[in-house]
Amino acid sequence: MLVMSSRIKRIENLKIEFDEQRIFRLIGYKKKSQEIKEPIKKMIAEEKKKLEYLLHPASIYTILDYNETNKHPVFKDAEKVALCLCTIGPDLEDEINQLMEKNEMVRALILDSLGSEAAEEVAIQSDRRLADMARELRFWPSKRYSPGYGKWDVKEQKYIFQVLPGKDIGVSLTESCMMIPRKSISFRINFYKNKKLTTRKNTIQGKSNDRNNQT
């Protein structure tokens, strides 16, 4: 189903912040940061600095009535469904490719981890805002779910891209339903009338909780 462009909205003011300990874990460390060698710490700091010009976070969404959706079984019992597409843009991945070509694999790994974390942050913030919108409309929001998890096949990416104009934020879909840039995330949130239909911790606010509100 085509959605009127006026119903496609952007999540504004996305701010990316990093939890340093998570970055250490993502690049393979299991120990405390003070035990990490200085050259590696220096590299992390240098790659992090590049993010100022490599990150272009963007997020678009629409909120549909159940009857406007393709009525996939995963939307069952929802009054409304929010569909969202987020990205950090292509520049970071281009930089990773250049680093790999130059045999700078550690820097590539660091930047890749920072990119994954940044994309996740965009999704978390988008999810949080959409959940707030659901509450304002007096619905109970579900956790966020991405295609490829549970009963929502990865092929349903095609449906999301039918509804949301990925090209507006520079995201496209491959034949095998992978998003390009790779550091992009798509998801849905079901809006329910009945609180019992959602497992989202709706009463607790905050980042740590929202990080867990994903599947």
Binding site: Y29, K30, K31, L109, T174
Partner: protein, 216 residues
């Protein structure tokens, strides 16, 4: 400086991840007209072996492993052209075909494994990402490879790993060409279920698995 001291410094440069030192020692080896096989086998290789030991002891982590692999590659890039000119060939630990399977464009994990395999003496033929399944087998037959490493980052593309193993069986090649699988959604159970010969949970485990296959 004695030859022994120079060889020891080469190993140390790899262990400490000092790329400039690894490169400068490689240049020195060329200037001194040292036996390049000895330079590799007694200089740099003990360094990368030690790095593997430190990883096993939990003293080194992925970034240190990769830094050492980068150093190894930088030194080899200096030695290789001269070795080719002189028609000297370092002994390969085995031939490996590696790539991310069809439909999957993730490649950083695969590139890390590729670097670690090269640093540990394997002859690596990296086919890149989104590689047609038949291409893995064609290349393996062409270069007479011992191992195919298949990376998949999606639950959907993991099935490509299974299919390659099936094709190898259909062509009666599975005794000759072994398969290692890896990637975020892949685990030991999946590797066992599809009949893979090994599972690379991470880059270093993949190297160990490849070494084990060759030793067998």
């Amino acid at each position: 400086m004695s030859k022994e001291e120079l060889l020891a410094r080469m190993g140390k440069a790899i262990i400490e991840g000092d790329k400039d030192e690894a490169e400068s020692l490689a240049k020195e080896a060329l200037e001194e007209k040292m036996d390049l096989i000895e330079v590799i086998e007694k200089g740099y290789v003990p360094g990368i072996k030690k790095v593997g030991d430190l990883w096993e002891k939990g003293e080194y982590f992925l970034p240190e492993l990769i830094t050492s692999a980068e150093c190894m590659k930088s030194a080899m890039n200096i030695l290789q052209p001269e070795m080719e000119k002189a028609q000297i060939q370092a002994q390969s630990k085995g031939k490996v075909i590696i790539g991310t399977v069809e439909g999957d464009i993730h490649d950083i994990g695969k590139n890390l494994v590729s670097s670690m395999l090269s640093a540990n003496g394997f002859e690596v033929h990296d086919l890149g990402a989104d590689v047609k399944l038949e291409q893995f087998i064609e290349k393996a037959e062409e270069v007479d490879a011992h191992i195919i490493c298949l990376s998949a980052l999606l639950t959907t593309t993991m099935l490509g790993q299974k299919r390659v193993i099936e094709i190898l069986k259909e062509k009666n090649l599975s005794d000759r060409i072994k398969v290692l699988v890896g990637g975020a959604p892949v685990n030991k159970k999946w590797a066992d279920d599809i009949g893979a010969d090994g599972y690379g949970e991470n880059a270093m485990v993949a190297v160990k698995a490849a070494q084990q296959i060759i030793e067998e």
